[in-house]
């Protein structure tokens, strides 16, 4: 990478090839296989754009891992947003893949949350119930449902950033 920062194209090509292989392994356990290529390419472009932010006195892999994680979180955000938009426009049935991929990822993330928070988020943010309906389904008060959603989402975001 130090040579790449100085403009050595041969070293840069070898580096990007190695990064591509590492990124495939990193993302393989985190996203749906069909989205792997897109995310790897996005991350390679981010690496290219932000290559000046690597400090040659520090190890390379933690830098690459931080960029990969950031792109992954961004990818998840876009996935959820696309899912919400699809539901709003009533075309969700045409392509379930983003929703399924999001669901798989969410199931893993929910494992770290208390049951009450995970259930409140799942009912309101994923199943689309209103706060009142979620309150009835869970036996929690409406304000507690809101608090659990807020705290749960905050904890998830924090966990992903710190992971």
């Amino acid at each position: 990478m130090a040579m790449s920062q100085q403009g050595d194209k041969q070293a840069y090509g070898a580096l990007l090839e190695a990064c591509q292989r590492w990124l495939r392994g990193y993302y393989a356990r985190r996203i749906a296989p069909a989205q792997l290529d897109d995310l790897v390419q996005e991350t390679l472009m981010a690496l290219h754009t932000k290559r000046a932010s690597w400090d040659s006195t520090r190890p390379f892999l933690p830098w690459l891992a931080a960029i990969a994680r950031y792109r992954w979180v961004d990818h998840l955000r876009r996935l959820y947003r696309a899912d919400e938009t699809a539901l709003d426009t009533d075309v969700a049935g045409h392509d379930d893949e983003p929703a399924i991929a999001a669901r798989i990822t969410l199931e893993r993330l929910f494992g770290v949350l208390p049951e009450a928070q995970a259930r409140a988020i799942a009912l309101v943010k994923i199943d689309g119930l209103s706060i009142a309906e979620a309150s009835q389904a869970t036996g929690q008060s409406e304000s507690l449902v809101k608090v659990n959603i807020h705290r749960g989402l905050k904890k998830l975001a924090h966990m992903i950033e710190k992971a």
């Binding site: 403009g7 290219h48 000046a52 932010s53 400090d55 040659s56 994680r69």
Partner: protein, 214 residues
Amino acid sequence: MVRNSDVLIAELVGSLEPVKPLRFAQGLGLTLAVAAVSVVVAVSWFGLRADLQAGLVNPVHLIATGLYLGLAIAASVTVIVMSRPGVGTDHSGWTWAAAMAALLPAAGLIVGVVGHHDMLSASSLTHGIDCFVRGGAASLAVFAMLVWWLRKGAPTAPDRAGLIAGIAAGSFGIFAFSLSCADNDIVHIGVWHSAAVLAMGAIGRVTVPSLVRW
């Protein structure tokens, strides 16, 4: 995105240009330089405190300005570190300085309540708002500098980076204006000077993430 990764790599290699790595020392040096200019401008504009002109110091003023300066430097260091990604990098050092600086508003509120200070009198409010606005104004150059540095880098926690950049800038700003503010009252310093730091932190938290996302 449909193209092959090998094609993308070839394109990226083809467009490679040498880059100058972001240096920690350069980021901190620039921040301190901008802060120094802010201090000079603030003192030139608002004048230096009479006791400092006479070569005297007030203990409360000295401790308060020292705590704000410590927080400003610690938060700036954290922001500059945050501009370079790295799993496992610790970004929590500034919180110790923040905890110490938090003694100022805590002490101000305790003294204000226990000592029955009239914190809401017209003169207190006018003077307090004056310091709040001028301290905030004195922080803008450092704030712009830190945001610019974050944009050059690749912060992976833009929300936190924004909050800490605001706190760093606000602390530098109120430090600069403290050299002009003649008030040594812990209630005034603790409430209004700290309010400027908190407000800049809130502004940073709200405005910076959209500016530095990549």
